[in-house]
């Protein structure tokens, strides 16, 4: 009997240790989430403005020739997949990677991948996808310069006709408990000018619409990527927080159950001891 109580004690101790770790991770990601959300709120005006402007401009310029705007038959697609560097974030990495892979399968065409986060890289390398770029160590705290680098890599591929479309796969941050894996198509930009405004005013473009677009399209790509990186980093922290919270709760539940069994075992041991003493005393009579 003493063996079992000791055994249960040992397990409780083990689970408590794990609980401490998950609890700490929960707190860490809560703090990080708070920071990431502040960042998200600060950055949203930027990329929303850029997106809004570019829509307006493409809507009002009509047919402007630009190497980044030509639409070709899609033979090869580029996927920029934004996942995390580390796991223990529930379904966060799995969700976004699955979505990307599903789309690649559906399209059934040549796919090139830019992996952000080591989880995305590892997954796609293991499955022999063509990885044209990898960005590790930026997913938690993305900078605008990271977005610029990813953007120029993607735009070079598009301009050299190595890829005929650019997709961005990331996790949109809806709230602390809801993050949605999303795909948006960055180029060709038919999706952006769909939202043509009923705009009668004629906007001037200095020096010329072509040159303004020359400048704005890269900006649009970079800021979309930046926006996605920021959304993804908030989502990652939120997902990890929720996962760790659940793990802590589970640990607590297990400890409660084990405590009950421990008490029961202890009780049984005591009862047995008493019985033994009583029967021993009886035998002496």
């Amino acid at each position: 009997m003493a063996e079992t109580t000791r055994e249960i004690k040992r397990r409780i101790r083990g689970i408590s240790n794990t609980k401490q770790i998950t609890k700490a991770m929960e707190l860490v990601s809560s703090a990080k989430l708070k920071r990431a959300r502040e960042r998200l709120d600060k950055s949203r005006p930027y990329y929303e403005t850029v997106l809004h402007n570019i829509q307006e401009i493409l809507g009002s310029t009509g047919n402007v020739k630009h190497p980044l705007l030509d639409i070709r038959e899609v033979k090869s697609s580029l996927y920029i997949v934004i996942a995390a560097d580390r796991g223990l974030a529930g379904g966060y990495n799995g969700g976004v990677i699955r979505l990307a892979e599903k789309r690649i399968r559906e399209q059934n065409k040549d796919a090139k991948i830019i992996a952000v986060g080591s989880k995305a890289r590892d997954y796609f390398t293991k499955r022999n996808y063509n990885i044209v770029g990898q960005f590790i160590g930026i997913s938690e705290d993305p900078q605008f310069s990271d977005a610029r680098e990813i953007g120029s890599l993607a735009m070079d591929l598009y301009e050299n006709k190595d890829v005929d479309e650019i997709n961005l796969v990331y996790t949109m941050f809806k709230g602390t408990i809801s993050q949605v894996p999303t795909i948006i198509k960055l180029l060709p930009s038919n999706e952006i000018d769909e939202e043509k405004k009923e705009r009668k005013t004629i906007t001037e473009f200095e020096p010329s619409p072509e040159e303004v677009l020359e400048y704005l399209i890269p900006k649009y790509i970079q800021s979309s990527i930046y926006g996605a990186l920021i959304e993804a980093s908030s989502s990652e922290q939120a997902a990890r927080r929720v996962a760790m919270e659940a793990a802590t709760d589970n640990a607590e539940e297990m400890i409660d159950e084990l405590n009950i069994s421990y008490n029961r075992a202890r009780q049984a041991a005591i009862t047995m001891e008493i019985t033994e003493i009583v029967s021993g005393a009886d035998a002496l009579k």
């Binding site: 950055s43 402007n53 307006e56 473009f205 303004v212 704005l216 900006k219």
Partner: protein, 136 residues
């Protein structure tokens, strides 16, 4: 003077959002003053200064590359970074300037030269703007 709304947005924050009387920016074709009722325009900007006029007072900020868009009495300046003179880290700007100058002197490969030139422009612009404050 009548007012219009000016937003200056950067990737890190909404740098400025208020009513102003006039704003002067440096477009790639030269300086551009925007007043209320300006016809819609979109143009890229150079690394330089933004001069904001509010209630007769002028404030200057350093910006690095971006564009300005004027639509219906709403002016938006989108830039990668914007700083008031007080926020500029002069030491950092000076060391960035030295670094860029050194890189331009060495001239190893071509891609770096363009970037170094931009960095140099940014650093000089920051130093200039940070000194504006000292005169008043």
């Amino acid at each position: 003077m009548s007012n219009f709304h000016l937003d200056i947005v950067t990737p890190d924050n909404l740098f400025f959002s208020d009513k102003v009387e006039m704003v002067i920016v440096r477009g790639i074709d030269g300086d551009l003053a925007v007043l209320k009722g300006r016809a819609p325009i979109t143009t890229p900007l150079r690394i330089g200064k933004v001069r904001v006029f509010q209630e007769g007072k002028e404030r200057v900020a350093a910006i690095s590359d971006g564009y300005v868009s004027v639509q219906d009495d709403k002016v938006t300046i989108v830039t990668e970074s914007a700083e008031w003179p007080d926020d500029i880290d002069i030491e950092r700007a000076k060391s960035a300037k030295e670094r860029a100058e050194k890189r331009l002197k060495d001239r190893r490969d071509n891609i770096d030269i363009h970037r170094a030139e931009l960095a140099l422009h940014r650093a000089i612009n920051r130093i200039e703007v940070s000194q504006i404050k000292k005169f008043d």
